[in-house]
C-alpha cells in the first residue's frame, strides 16, 4: 500500500482543535498542523513539546555578560588603565558601576541575536528557503491538520478520512508521497 498524506482543512482554529482531539482520542497520530496564526492549546493535543529557546536565550545572555566584563577588564583595567578626570581605572570591581551600562547592553545584544539566529535555524527559515506549507491557503484563512498513513499503521486511509468527516471539517485532501 502506497503511503498517503491526508490533509483535513478547517475554517476555524477551535474546530481544528476539536478535530485534532477526536483524531488523537481514536489513536490517530497527527503529524502536524498548519495555520495563519498560532493556535493556542494545540501543542499538548498533538504532542508538540515546549521549545527550549528561552534557555538558549539565557545562555547567550550569560555569555554576553561574561564577554563584556572580560573585554572591559582587558581594555580599561589590564591593558591600558587611564586616569580621566581624577577617576583612575584601578580594578574591575571599583569601576563596576560605570561598566554596568555597556555590560547590560551587550548582554541584551547577545541574548537577542543568539536566540533569533537559533530560532531561524531550528525553524529552517532562512533566506532563500522554498515555501514548505502544503496549501497556500494555510497562510490566509485555513487551518490544516496533516496525518500520514506511515505514522498510523493501525488505521486505513479510509478510516482516517471517515473520522475526519465526523468533525466540522471544510475539506479533505489526499496525496501520495
Amino acid at each position: 500500500m502506497a503511503n498517503k498524506v491526508i490533509y483535513a482543512v478547517y475554517e476555524d482554529p477551535e474546530q481544528l482543535k476539536d478535530g485534532a482531539r477526536k483524531l488523537v482520542s481514536n489513536g490517530v497520530k497527527v503529524k502536524d498542523t498548519f495555520s495563519p496564526f498560532p493556535i493556542h492549546g494545540i501543542d499538548p493535543i498533538i504532542g508538540v513539546k515546549r521549545t527550549r529557546l528561552a534557555i538558549a536565550a539565557f545562555m547567550f545572555g550569560i555569555t554576553g555578560t561574561c564577554l563584556a566584563l572580560l573585554g572591559i577588564w582587558y581594555f580599561n583595567i589590564f591593558d591600558w588603565p587611564m586616569n580621566i578626570g581624577g577617576k583612575p581605572s584601578q580594578a574591575l570591581y571599583k569601576n563596576l558601576p560605570a561598566f554596568i551600562p555597556v555590560t547590560f547592553e551587550f548582554t541584551v545584544l547577545c541574548a537577542a541575536h543568539g536566540m533569533v539566529i537559533t530560532y531561524l535555524i531550528r525553524n529552517k527559515t532562512l533566506p532563500g528557503m522554498p515555501a514548505r506549507n502544503p496549501d497556500p491557503r494555510s497562510t490566509d484563512d485555513k487551518f490544516i491538520i496533516e496525518v500520514r498513513t506511515s505514522d498510523n499503521h493501525g488505521h486505513s486511509a479510509e478510516a482516517i478520512t471517515d473520522l475526519m468527516r465526523s468533525t466540522p471539517v471544510f475539506e479533505i485532501n489526499e496525496r501520495q508521497y
Partner: protein, 462 residues
C-alpha cells in the same frame, strides 16, 4: 474559548473574516499605489535629497558650517539626535511593553510603530555620525585593535555607553520587527500572482511554513524578545540622558534625568505614531482596524507620560531653588526669563498644558484634534531638548563668553533632510510591507471583532 467582556469596545469593526483581513492589508501592496502616495513620496524624496546634499556639504566642509560657537558647542545636532531617539521609543514600548501587559490593541499598530522606531533610530544615529566631522573614522567608537599602541575606548564614558545602547537598540528592534514580518511575508507570498513579486516575497519570507512547532517557537521568541527589549528601551533613553546628567554643567547635572527623558521619549513617540497612523488609516482605508478606540488609548498614554514630563519640569525647577546652588538656580531663571524665554515657554505650553486637554473624552476621540495635538507635542519635545542643551550652555561661568546660538542654513537643511528621509522610508514601508501584523490581528478577530462580540452577547442573552 476565551471571551472578552462585552463592555470592552471592539478592536476590529464591521464583519470581517480571516480572508477579509488578508485582502484588506495585502491588496494595497498588489495594486497600483494611489495618487496621494506618489505626491507624498515625491515631496518626501525631494526634502530627503536636499537634506542629503546638506549632509554631504557638511562632511566635505567640516562642522564649522554649523552655527556652533565656542560657548554653544552642542546645539541642533544633539537636539535632533535626542528628539529622533525619543520618537523611536514608542515603537518598542508598543511592541514589547504592551505585549508583556497583553494589550490587544497593540496588534493593529505595532508593525507600523516598530517601522517608525527603526527609521527614527537611523535618523538619530546620523547625527553623532556627522558630528564627528571625520565620519570615515566612525569605527573608532568601537574597541578595535589599532595601530596606535594600546589605545582603547573609555568604558567609563556615557558617550561610549550611548554607542552600545543605540547600536543594540537598533539591531534588536530590527530583528524583533523582522521576526514578526516573516509570517506576514509568507501570507503575501502565497497570495500574489505576479512572478516578480512572488519571488521577492518568497525571499523575504525565508520559507515560513506556519506549522505548530514554528508557531510555538514564534511565540516564545516574541515573548523573550519583549522581555529583554523592555529593560532595553528604558536603558537607551536613560543612557542618552546620562550624556548630560553625568556632566557638571548647571541645568544638566540632575539625577531626575533618566526617568524624565524616558517618559518624554514615550510621550513624543506616541505623538509621532498618531501623526503617521492618522494619515495612514485614511489613505489605506484601515478605519476598521485602527479605530477611534486605538486613537483614544494612545491619547491616554500621551496624557500619562505628558503629566510625568510636567511633574519632572516642575520638580527640576523646585530643586534648582531648594538646592541653594546659585549657578543651578540661575540656569533655570535664565531659561524662563532670559533671551531664550520663548523656547522655554513653547516647551511648557506644548508639553505640560496641551496634553491635559485630552482629559475631555470627546476631544481625545476627535481625529482632527488628535492630529493637531500630535504635531504640537512633537514641536514641544523638540523645544525641550533645545532648551536643555542650548540654554544651559549659552551662559556659562564667564559672562564675557556669553553667547547666543544662531542656526545656519546647513543646520536647518540637515534637520529638515532627516524628516524627509524618515518619511521617504516610512512611505516605502507602507507601500511594500504589510502595515498591520496580519497574524496577530487575525488571532484577536474572534474575541475582539465587532460582529463576533455581538454574536457572543446575543448568545448570552438567550
Amino acid at each position: 474559548m476565551h471571551s472578552e467582556a462585552a463592555i470592552r469596545e471592539p478592536l476590529i469593526l464591521g464583519h470581517k473574516t480571516y480572508h477579509d483581513i488578508t485582502s484588506d492589508i495585502v491588496s494595497p501592496i498588489e495594486n497600483k499605489a494611489p495618487r496621494g502616495w506618489y505626491i507624498l513620496f515625491t515631496i518626501a524624496a525631494l526634502i530627503a535629497a536636499y537634506g542629503t546634499g546638506c549632509i554631504l556639504y557638511l562632511i566635505s566642509k567640516g562642522i564649522g558650517v554649523w552655527g556652533l560657537n565656542k560657548t554653544v558647542d552642542w546645539a541642533w545636532d544633539i537636539t535632533n539626535f535626542v528628539w529622533w531617539v525619543g520618537i523611536g521609543h514608542a515603537g518598542t514600548l508598543i511592541s514589547a511593553v504592551l505585549l508583556l501587559f497583553r494589550q490587544k490593541w497593540r496588534m493593529a499598530i505595532n508593525r507600523s510603530a516598530e517601522a517608525m522606531t527603526i527609521f527614527a533610530v537611523i535618523m538619530a544615529a546620523t547625527f553623532p555620525g556627522i558630528h564627528m566631522g571625520r565620519i570615515w573614522m566612525a569605527y573608532w567608537v568601537f574597541p578595535l585593535p589599532n595601530q596606535f599602541g594600546s589605545l582603547w575606548v573609555n568604558f567609563n564614558s556615557p558617550l561610549l555607553w550611548d554607542v552600545f545602547a543605540i547600536s543594540t537598540y537598533f539591531s534588536v528592534s530590527l530583528v524583533f520587527w523582522y521576526i514578526g514580518l516573516i509570517p506576514d511575508f509568507a501570507t503575501i507570498r502565497d497570495r500574489v500572482t505576479k512572478p516578480g513579486m512572488k519571488k521577492m516575497y518568497s525571499l523575504l519570507s525565508f520559507g515560513w511554513t506556519g506549522n505548530a512547532k514554528a508557531w510555538t517557537r514564534f511565540e516564545e521568541v516574541s515573548l523573550v524578545l519583549a522581555g529583554i527589549a523592555t529593560p532595553l528601551v528604558f536603558s537607551v533613553h536613560s543612557v542618552v540622558s546620562m550624556d548630560f546628567a553625568t556632566s557638571i554643567i548647571p541645568g544638566w547635572h540632575t539625577t531626575i534625568f533618566p526617568p524624565y527623558f524616558v517618559s518624554g521619549a514615550v510621550f513624543s513617540g506616541f505623538a509621532m505614531v498618531q501623526t503617521l497612523l492618522l494619515i495612514m488609516r485614511k489613505v489605506m482605508k484601515l478605519e476598521s482596524y485602527i479605530t477611534i478606540k486605538h486613537i483614544e488609548y494612545m491619547n491616554i498614554v500621551i496624557i500619562v507620560t505628558g503629566s510625568i514630563v510636567g511633574v519632572a519640569y516642575i520638580t527640576e525647577l523646585f530643586i534648582s531653588w531648594y538646592s541653594g546652588v546659585e549657578y543651578e538656580s540661575y540656569a533655570f531663571i535664565n531659561r524662563a526669563t532670559g533671551p531664550y524665554w520663548w523656547a522655554y515657554w513653547s516647551m511648557m505650553t506644548c508639553n505640560v498644558i496641551s496634553p491635559q486637554l485630552f482629559w475631555v473624552r470627546s476631544w481625545r476621540r476627535h481625529l482632527g484634534f488628535t492630529f493637531f495635538m500630535s504635531i504640537i507635542v512633537n514641536i514641544g519635545m523638540w523645544f525641550e531638548r533645545f532648551v536643555i542643551i542650548v540654554t544651559s550652555l549659552h551662559r556659562d561661568y564667564l559672562p564675557s563668553s556669553w553667547n547666543m546660538f544662531h542656526p545656519t542654513w546647513v543646520d536647518v537643511g540637515v534637520f529638515l533632510g532627516t524628516i524627509g528621509i524618515f518619511f521617504t522610508l516610512y512611505l516605502l514601508f507602507a507601500r511594500f510591507f504589510p502595515v498591520l501584523a496580519l497574524n496577530e490581528v487575525k488571532s484577536i478577530l474572534k474575541t475582539s471583532g465587532e460582529s463576533y462580540k455581538k454574536q457572543a452577547a446575543d448568545h448570552s442573552h438567550h
